[in-house]
């Protein structure tokens, strides 16, 4: 075996992981915390907007709200891409050792699915806009290319997909929040506080 492969440049957190001297981070970076809450608020806002706007009668306000919904969606997508890069290059703090194996598996599965949905939902919205024949023009300035040509069947199917993915997201977020509160009030561990801004980190 070639010994050189161990000195090849690899992700810093991996080196940290391999080193017996590693210092396991005890909290998230300020960037990770900011991205978590920024995206949480933006998701809540645009999810509510989507629920509210879709059965409004046609009006200039409806067209404006649809545009804003799409612009926020594109923005969230860009933040999520940055967040994923950050997540892959910065190791998060470990889950508390008190957590049961099934709970660790569930947490990892839910976190992974949340990341998947945060990527898939904006893309499904973009595809849906293309298929419905309404191009996304970011902030009315930057036209995004249409990924599909206009097609009613595809448009209807993608609308159903967009709704289904959002419903899944809503359910998982409720579970995510419930779990965080359970950790705080029942388990009394640092799962919630380490993601809170303005809380003094040890």
């Amino acid at each position: 075996m070639n010994i050189d492969m161990y000195s090849a440049p690899i992700a810093p957190h991996y080196l940290e992981w391999c080193s017996p001297m590693r210092q396991q981070p005890t909290s998230y970076t300020r960037t990770a915390i900011s991205l978590h809450w920024l995206i949480a608020v933006a998701l809540w806002a645009t999810f509510s907007l989507g629920l509210y706007m879709h059965d409004l009668p046609l009006s200039p306000e409806k067209l404006k709200l649809y545009s804003w919904h799409k612009w926020v969606g594109v923005t969230i997508f860009l933040w999520v891409v940055f967040r994923l890069i950050w997540r892959l290059t910065h190791h998060p703090p470990e889950l508390p050792i008190t957590m049961a194996p099934w709970a660790r598996k569930a947490a990892n599965l839910v976190h992974g699915t949340l990341y998947f949905l945060m990527v898939a939902i904006p893309i499904s919205g973009w595809l849906m806009s293309s298929a419905d024949g309404f191009q996304v023009v970011y902030f009315g300035v930057l036209p995004l290319p249409d990924l599909l040509s206009k097609n009613k069947e595809w448009g209807d199917a993608l609308t159903t997909l967009h709704k289904g993915l959002n419903l899944t997201l809503a359910i998982l977020v409720l579970g995510h929040v419930a779990a965080a509160l359970k950790h705080y009030f029942v388990d009394r561990d640092d799962i919630l506080s380490r993601m809170l801004p303005l809380v003094r980190k040890p």
């Binding site: 046609l58 009006s59 200039p60 067209l63 024949g133 309404f134 191009q135 023009v137 009315g140 206009k150």
Partner: protein, 192 residues
Amino acid sequence: MRMTSNTLSVFAGLMLMSLSAQATEFTTLDAGQSSIGFAFKQMNVPAEGKFKQLTGSIDFDPDKPAQAKAEINIALASVDAGSDEANGALADTLWFDTKTYPTARFVTTSLAPVGNHQFNVTGAMTIKGQTHRIESIATFHQEDRIGVLEGKFTLQRADFAIGTGMWADFGTVANEVQIKFRLVVHAATRQK
């Protein structure tokens, strides 16, 4: 090389055909093959639509454009703007008000050749009881007994009170609407 009587007759035939082609007068509008489309922007997003029904009359001899006449009637209720929601709204009083004004009419006032198969078409467009002058450069192509006149022009929807009330603001739906027309015409039966 010696010309046979056969080749000569082919020549003569071709010359006659080209002569008759030059003298072709187009008098029938093929409504089924013709199309009227439009393009506009809402929230700066390009959108397109078309009208599925039109009727009209035409009298057009490419060699005598000064005498050309055309009248196109568009059934406004046949609009397809891409969604049932939009089509329903367009029939409403704020937009076309199709119950009171079912038809948009375009009548030519002059047709002048500008070279290269192109004509400067002017005419009167009437929508919702408002008439405005329209000018367009149209291209005419002819293949045997069928001709195609196509072109585009821009109109301001506010000139015709299309999109009033809450829609009057151009910030959501732009004032400029581009109209694209493609009229398929058939030549008159030759009289001898």
